[in-house]
Subunit: 267 residues, 3 copies
């Protein structure tokens, strides 16, 4: 990697990118607070009448299908088309992929509108989207990473985008390289919206330009390191989520570099 | 009661039930975090295209009418029918019953789709749904419990379901027995979503099977005991809500048994 | 001013006004918790079938356009008409005014339904609504206050309502007088929903009757003083928002008077 997560965070703080989120109701508040704490600006807008203008104002677009309905799907399609036309990064979070046929159909529709810059989800969502069956539950982390790499490679080959998979070890992959990020803490799975926030944080880094692979690595590393910082203060889920927001504000480029555990290789 | 709340909590932690919530916008985040902290898994989905599949995947369904609109009412009806057909527990939270004629009409419609397993609300909602007029405000807790029992009995006789009423003393009633639960703390009424979370926690316990009366008692007791544990750390509402989520994660079967104040009798 | 913020807070605590919020998804939870912590009662309802009854039950109405869509705009129009007919205070929060043409059009439509009692927004929103162009970013607080006064005066002259502008110095203005409030802390801009909550807190004070100018001043002062109290405990954004809710519960009329920094003059 040419640029470190440290450099990406410095850019993010200096530019304060506006991130347009069309996301689910459950996580809107936490996502907005996560972006603000990190140093980005959130906006949420889903009306057909204004999504084009909002995309144009923003540095990146997040599409998160957590609480779908037909009008929202239309707005997501429109926003993705506009973002693609304007060259804005698109981060797609396939929440609950594989859980219902409606979600799977919507994902097909969305992926037909525009190629996302980054597809970011957890291991089971990424595997479902890749068409791989079987649960990763109970599989140990080494095998799980291999499975995530397999699924990410399929999605990359199909769509030509960066794929970021969260898990005990996070995997970020594009056609030439893969990064394994060993930061994070298990309590993160006990707080709603951590994955959704990871997608919005990825958008904030992608808005800074440069390598989208490196932006996705910086985002996953930032989430993981801030998770560790928060877990040092409390591993109880209520307190943890507050400390996590604090950590997003506290994380410095230097701390990020010091604590990052990234294994990177060409493929 | 054959089984203690302790046994119900042990089952919940072991089985990690998926709870499908069609609930209001205000409490979605807190409800999801409460379920995760306790050891259950939340899902929120309200699209007509996917509610049937999501009900089928879930261990129980929560219907909460806090921020109604026509498309959501349709989804609620559909989900209740599917849950009834599949034999999944349905927990109905009649938020704001009696406040507007629309809410009252929707409740009639919902109750015509399927019989809930548990109707859970606060005293004024349960009294309104039972057709009793008059506020319980200012009434002391003893009288209030008697009023809740009266309203719960009417609803039970009409619908044949368990009725759970929150208040200074919680009341859980079915046709054969009533439990009075004296756990809880007054600061709980200063935090939004405590009642709504109580309904989702009830769903998590009902998903474990067995007696639905005992599941509702276990849920009300868990909420009350966790409220007491949190109030020992802070009775200011911001801090309290964080400590409450922590307490849901910390509560053990042993602590629950030790702190439970349940008076139970056949009727 | 005849009545101090102290008197207004005493009234609020004694009357526990019901505040009807038609607001955005992002801030609903935080807004409801802020109102509860302060001593008011929140309700959120946006269905055409019930907004009239809910307005009639409430002491004041908040219209916040943060996450617009057509059905919500209809409900907002209907609620404003009903509130005007019933003489209930209306607080309009023009979130994101100027960002998209849709928001600007909706604001024109809303302002054609009824005259708000208070228009409350941040400096750039109020300037956009007043038709003034140019960003206030980077302008120091003195100039910023002068710019806010200019914009507020235009809106007052056009609509005849109180205008409340948040910023480093808050400005509240009606046709006869202006108040500059120097309370608050910069971390407030790193937490989502502080402005939206300020509008709902203004509604809670307006529900108490008397001078709407003084109610708006009391609300802005309460927000600012509670922000200072919370910032004394933590200036990290996650912890701050929890301490802020605590401060809303802790603030007493005496503390409010002691800490208020209000400069008031006739104009």
């Amino acid at each position: 990697m040419k640029n470190s997560p440290q450099a990406a965070l410095t850019t993010l703080r200096a530019t304060r990118p506006l991130v347009h989120n069309i996301t689910n109701y459950v996580v809107m508040n936490f996502t907005a607070n996560a972006l603000l704490a990190l140093g980005a600006s959130p906006v949420m807008a889903h009306a057909a009448e204004e999504v084009d203008e909002m995309v144009a104002l923003s540095g990146a677009l997040v599409i998160n299908i957590g609480t779908l309905s037909t009008p929202w799907v239309s707005a997501m399609q429109q926003a993705m088309q506009t973002a693609a036309r304007l060259g804005k990064p698109i981060i797609l979070d396939p929440v609950g992929a594989g859980a219902t046929s409606f979600r799977n159909q919507v994902l097909v529709q969305l992926l037909a509108q525009a190629t996302p810059t980054v597809i970011r989800g957890n291991a089971s969502e990424i595997r479902a989207l890749a068409g791989l069956t079987g649960s990763t539950r109970g599989v140990d982390s080494t095998d799980s990473s291999l499975q995530s790499i397999e699924a990410a490679r399929i999605l990359h080959d199909r769509h030509g985008c960066v794929v970021s998979v969260s898990g005990a070890v996070d995997v970020v992959l594009d056609g030439k390289q893969v990064a394994l990020i060993e930061n994070g803490h298990s309590v993160m799975s006990q707080v709603t919206g951590m994955g959704c926030s990871a997608s919005s944080v990825a958008a904030a880094f992608c808005a800074g330009g440069g390598s989208m692979f490196e932006a996705a690595v910086a985002a996953a590393t930032t989430m993981g390191v801030c998770g560790e910082m928060a877990a040092e203060r409390s591993t109880l889920p209520g307190s943890f989520q507050i400390h996590f927001l604090d950590a997003l504000a506290e994380i410095s480029p230097e701390l990020l570099t010091e604590k990052a555990k990234i294994a990177w290789q060409e493929i």
